[in-house]
């Protein structure tokens, strides 16, 4: 369990973290997201007792990290894969770490095996690629078999195989009931790895939510294609849905209409997919005979259409990609920060 309470960290006149509060629970992978400079690494440094908070608290398993006697048994962390002595061999790097926390050398061999570095254990770290250093850093975090793990940008520099390996590892660690906090500035990465997301911008909390909730929040309705769009629209509006003509191609993100747009269209060209867009007066994009429906899910739409004998060619739930959601969230924070300063 990781708990950050009203954490503020200032460096001179710069506020790096601003009254940030969140919790990271066991059994989940929590993505810690934010643009570069948002305060992710600072928060992690404070959590590890490396930097002192200006105010507030950052607790691990209910207490400050610095109070832990042999911390690697409780918390494993990868902050900066480059922070190693290039002249030291991989085995020795993990060896001194293990010794500092009363961990035996057999465990060193185990984690080297686990991260795929057993073959280069006796090589000097200076010759390692960034990806190999990431693996070494992950091995160091795993040494004490800790219940809490923190990784700062762990996939940086990894090849696709390595990225997939890290994803699987994070998920496996969480599945074992561990608390896993993974920072990234890439939403696309977190989308594939995390269950929950803590999004920060300019040191402030923007969102503390599950990946699913965030996706729902940025839902864009259901795209429906039918040879009888006007009939279908009438049925769906009657069922409580909101229907608009959909432009083909990119995600539809016009403000949700009141539902009368499509039904008011003439719909005469449904088979060849022309007509109703112009009737709606938007005049943009090629009308496709498709409808964008909100307020009803795909199953409900399918059932209504079947009940009225209206054929459907396509029913596709759509949402903004999490990447777009993230960009929207963090863009807002940047604006807020600019105004605030």
């Amino acid at each position: 369990m990781i708990e950050v309470r009203e954490l503020t960290k200032r460096y001179g006149g710069t506020v790096a973290v601003d009254a940030l509060s969140f919790r990271v629970r066991p059994g989940t992978v929590t993505g810690f997201l934010g643009p570069n400079g948002a305060g992710k690494s600072t928060t992690m440094r404070v959590l590890l007792g490396l930097d002192a908070p200006s105010s507030g608290a950052a607790l691990v398993n209910g207490g400050p990290y610095a109070a832990l006697r042999r911390p690697m048994h409780e918390v494993g962390a990868l902050l900066d894969a480059g922070a190693v002595h290039g002249g030291r061999r991989a085995f020795d790097h993990l060896g001194w770490l293990a010794r500092s926390n009363g961990i035996g050398t057999r465990r060193v061999a185990e984690v080297l095996e686990q991260v795929g570095l057993a073959g280069v254990a006796r090589k000097r770290v200076g010759g390692f690629s960034l990806g190999m250093r990431q693996r070494l850093g992950i091995a160091a975090a795993l040494l004490g078999d800790p219940g809490v793990l923190m990784f700062d940008e762990p996939v940086n520099g990894l090849d696709p195989d390595g990225v997939r390996w890290v994803r699987r590892l994070m998920r496996a660690l969480a599945a074992e009931g561990r608390t896993v906090l993974v920072s990234s500035h890439l939403m696309s990465e977190m989308e594939l790895t995390a269950d929950r997301l803590v999004v920060i911008g300019r040191g402030r909390l923007i969102a503390d939510t599950s990946v699913r909730e965030l996706a729902d929040r940025f839902a864009r309705g259901v795209l429906v294609r039918s040879p009888r769009p006007e009939d279908l629209a009438a049925v769906l509006v009657a069922a409580g849905g909101t229907v608009e003509p959909a432009r083909s191609g990119t995600a539809e993100d016009a403000p949700s209409g009141t539902g009368e747009g499509a039904p008011s269209g003439t719909g005469e060209g449904a088979p060849n997919g022309t007509g109703e867009g112009a009737a709606n007066g938007t005049g943009e994009g090629a009308p496709s005979g498709a409808l964008s429906v909100t307020g009803l899910d795909a199953a409900e739409i399918g059932e209504r259409a079947a009940a009225h004998g209206i054929p459907l060619y396509e029913v596709t739930p759509r949402s903004a990609s999490l990447e777009e959601a993230y960009m929207e969230l963090t863009a807002g924070s940047a604006e807020f920060g600019a105004v605030a300063s």
């Binding site: 590890l48 610095a66 190693v84 001194w96 500092s100």
Partner: protein, 258 residues
């Protein structure tokens, strides 16, 4: 504390710079042998009259010059190399109790330097005795036991310089800055102090760290010309320097963000 000491010892013995420092000590032990052989050869060629006034630096002299340099390097590198690479954060994450980590980072190189100095100086003196081979050469004719007080004073001063440098290193955090400052104190300040007028040149020289070993115990055969401080005062002053440096180090290391 045992964990921290053991971890720091593992770190120290797993980098090449440590071997470079101890290799330097070994090379200077060899130079002690060469110096002793040369002195014996020189002595053999002297007339009886010249032999009576013969004076020579003691056999361990070459090593005595190199040890303070090695001490500065070994005191600085374990600290400043970690600041340079960022590994200091890894160390602090592993051992979050900062006074413990700092003391281990100073004590391990300090102890290693003490042992290296004792072994090296002993080897130098033994080699000198062997080279003199019974010749009544001044500076070489003392028994090993006569050398012991000076060897101990030299070794302790060497270790003290390592500890002081560790304190300086945590304040400066820079390898270049720490080594430059250390070398300046060892090699630039003494001649500058000698330029001071009147008794001040000797007074300042007497309190410099490197001058203290000779004032705690002079090497056998040396003519004591500058013994401004008594052995006890010299020892106390050295201890005070170490305590101040370590105290400042603990304080700075304990408070500063890593």
């Amino acid at each position: 504390m045992i964990d921290a000491l053991a971890a720091e010892w593992w770190k120290l013995r797993s980098v090449r710079s440590t071997f470079a420092v101890f290799g330097t000590v070994a090379v200077f032990v060899i130079l002690c042998v060469v110096w002793s052989l040369y002195a014996a050869h020189y002595w053999d060629g002297l007339s009886q009259a010249r032999r009576a006034t013969f004076e020579s630096a003691p056999p361990e002299q070459p090593l005595a010059i190199a040890l303070p340099v090695c001490a500065v390097l070994l005191g600085a590198l374990p600290m400043t190399s970690e600041y340079a690479s960022g590994m200091i954060r890894t160390s602090l994450a592993a051992i979050p109790r900062r006074p413990v980590l700092f003391c281990a980072k100073a004590a391990v190189p300090g102890a290693a330097m003490l042992v290296a100095a004792l072994v090296g100086l002993t080897a130098g003196v033994v080699a000198g005795e062997a080279a003199a081979n019974g010749r009544p050469m001044r500076g070489f004719d003392a028994s090993f036991l006569d050398h012991v007080p000076y060897l101990l004073a030299m070794a302790v001063t060497t270790a003290a310089i390592t500890l002081m440098t560790a304190g300086l290193a945590v304040v400066l955090r820079s390898t270049a800055g720490t080594i430059t400052t250390g070398m300046a104190v060892l090699f630039v300040v003494p001649p500058v102090a000698n330029l001071l007028p009147g008794p001040w040149g000797e007074r300042v020289w007497a309190v410099l760290p490197e001058s203290l070993a000779g004032q705690m115990a002079s090497p056998p055969g040396a003519s004591p010309t500058r013994d401004d401080l008594s052995p006890a005062v010299s020892a106390l002053l050295l201890a005070a320097y170490v305590l101040v440096a370590l105290g400042v180090g603990v304080r700075v290391f304990g408070r500063r963000d890593a």
